[in-house]
Amino acid sequence: MSAAPPALAHPRAFVPNWPVRLAWIVLALYLAYALSHLELTPARFLAGLEFGRNFLAKLFPPDFARWELLLKGLKESLEMAVLASALGIALSLPVSLLAARNLMPGWVTWPARMLMVVCRSFHPVIVAIVFVKAVGFGALAGILALTVASVGFLGKLFTEAIEEISLKQVEAVRATGAPFMSVIAYGVLPQVFARFIGFASYELDANLRNSTMVGIVGAGGIGGTLFAAFQRFDYDFVCAIIVSIIALIIAGEILTNSVKRVFRA
């Protein structure tokens, strides 16, 4: 009698999920394969550490002797980021309203969504290369590239925010006989405004970072200076640029936080 397992008094609370277990096993196997395939041996890692030590030694101390060049690049990056964000927000608003499936019929949302997907398909640096070829070197190409990226991301985030609103509030405004644009202004925008501000400040932050990048392909900003310094092995100037970029991003963070605080009514 005692050899027989005791009968369960209740059904099992945690049923094993074999498909999920299998997925974890497959993932672990792939990680092991990738690691061996790329020959990431401890010896390779130690060699890398040696390179890193030399590089760090050349970086410090940072050299701010050419601060005028540095400041000019930073100013240009900041201006590009702010302009591209403003343009991106202005374009994203109508596009996201058109793309919201709870407000618009399918034949309107489909092209608007396609536009946003295309804008989001490529990294800003790739878009910047295209614009450098199209409109020539300089800040204009950078602004256009960042604007395209902004429309792609802000459009998507705005659209999702609009699709999550309470339609009851919209219904009440519609019931007053309000024309469509008034329904948008009174029923839709008040519900999403706070989130729009949050998304827009996030995009400004992203544009600040990206505006220091697109210069590498000649689209203006501090990135061009950074790339040139790298190519000349001018590592202490590289360090100065990197420190300045970090300062710029922190300043941007403080700026966007205060923008959010102003609008948090």
Binding site: E171, V173, T176, A178, M181, A185, Y186, P190, Q191, F193
Partner: protein, 272 residues
């Protein structure tokens, strides 16, 4: 306290029979199917007199909300006719529909205020049908409208709350704002979809009293969907019992018997 309109006025059904042209609203053979072949409303015909409160009672899911939303076409009727202000609502183009909607105020179960707008903005949104979108966006309402909005807030007892955001109000306060917004339209008909279902019993009575007084003063006929039979009896001058998508009772509150209630809601255990 004024004498409630419903007690003093003659019974609206009788009034509409004696003066057939005076009906505020006529619904003829209204059918609504959300799924083809499964009508929610199975041929409703009702005539609403130009004054008094008509209460529509009936079990959940019997189409009370659908019926009321078919009137201002927030829900599109499948067939049938609705005549209001001499126009057939079911045939209107979208543009003319807007013009007619301006004349029909609506109060909702969950208040449906725009939460992030202030109380006064919510009340003034009742005028959106008359103000251009650009001026509405800039909050440039005609001075008369602003004056009226404040006096309506006074009337519903929320004069001090004008600049507060709607989401800071209690349920009863929100519904008062909802009533003020509907009356701000200067409507010729008021629809109320379960206006008291989200409120406690005391607040429910207060809200119904307010609605009754304000619509009586202004001579606005009112249709109220309501769960609470006792509340309906107390405030309505006419009761319409809906069951299975059809009208099974239509008459004054005094005429509504227990047998009628059994017929409307089914069963009888719940009555005692």
């Amino acid at each position: 306290m004024t004498v409630p309109a419903s007690r003093a006025a003659p019974h609206p059904v009788a009034a509409s029979i004696s003066a057939p042209g005076a009906a505020a609203l006529a619904i003829r053979n209204l059918i609504k199917e959300y799924v083809r072949g499964q009508p929610v409303l199975k041929g409703i015909s009702l005539t609403i007199a130009p004054n008094g409160i008509t209460a529509i009672i009936g079990p959940s899911g019997t189409g009370k909300s659908t019926l009321i939303r078919c009137i201002n076409r927030l829900v599109e009727p499948t067939s049938g006719e609705i005549v209001f202000e001499g126009r057939s609502l079911t045939l209107l183009s979208r543009r003319s529909l807007r013009v007619v909607r301006r004349l029909i105020g609506m109060v909702f179960q969950e208040y449906n205020l725009v939460e992030r707008l202030t109380v006064i903005e919510n009340v003034l949104s009742g005028r959106l049908g008359y103000v251009s979108p650009f001026k509405a966006w800039l909050r440039r309402f005609p001075p008369d409208d602003v004056t009226e909005a404040f006096s309506l807030l006074e009337a519903v007892g929320l004069a001090d709350y004008a600049q507060q955001r709607a989401d800071s109000l209690s349920g009863g306060q929100r519904q008062r704002v909802g009533i003020a917004r509907a009356l701000m339209q200067r409507p010729k008909l008021l629809l109320a979809d379960e206006p008291t279902s989200s409120l406690d019993p005391k607040t429910s009575v207060e809200v119904m009293t307010l609605m009754q007084e304000l619509t009586f003063e202004r001579g606005i006929p009112t249709i109220v969907n309501i769960h609470n039979v006792d509340l309906a009896r107390r405030f309505a001058s006419r009761m319409v019992g809906l069951s299975g998508g059809a009208v099974v009772f239509d008459g004054p509150p005094e005429a509504l018997s227990e047998d009628h209630l059994k017929q409307i809601y089914g069963g009888e255990d719940w009555l005692h």
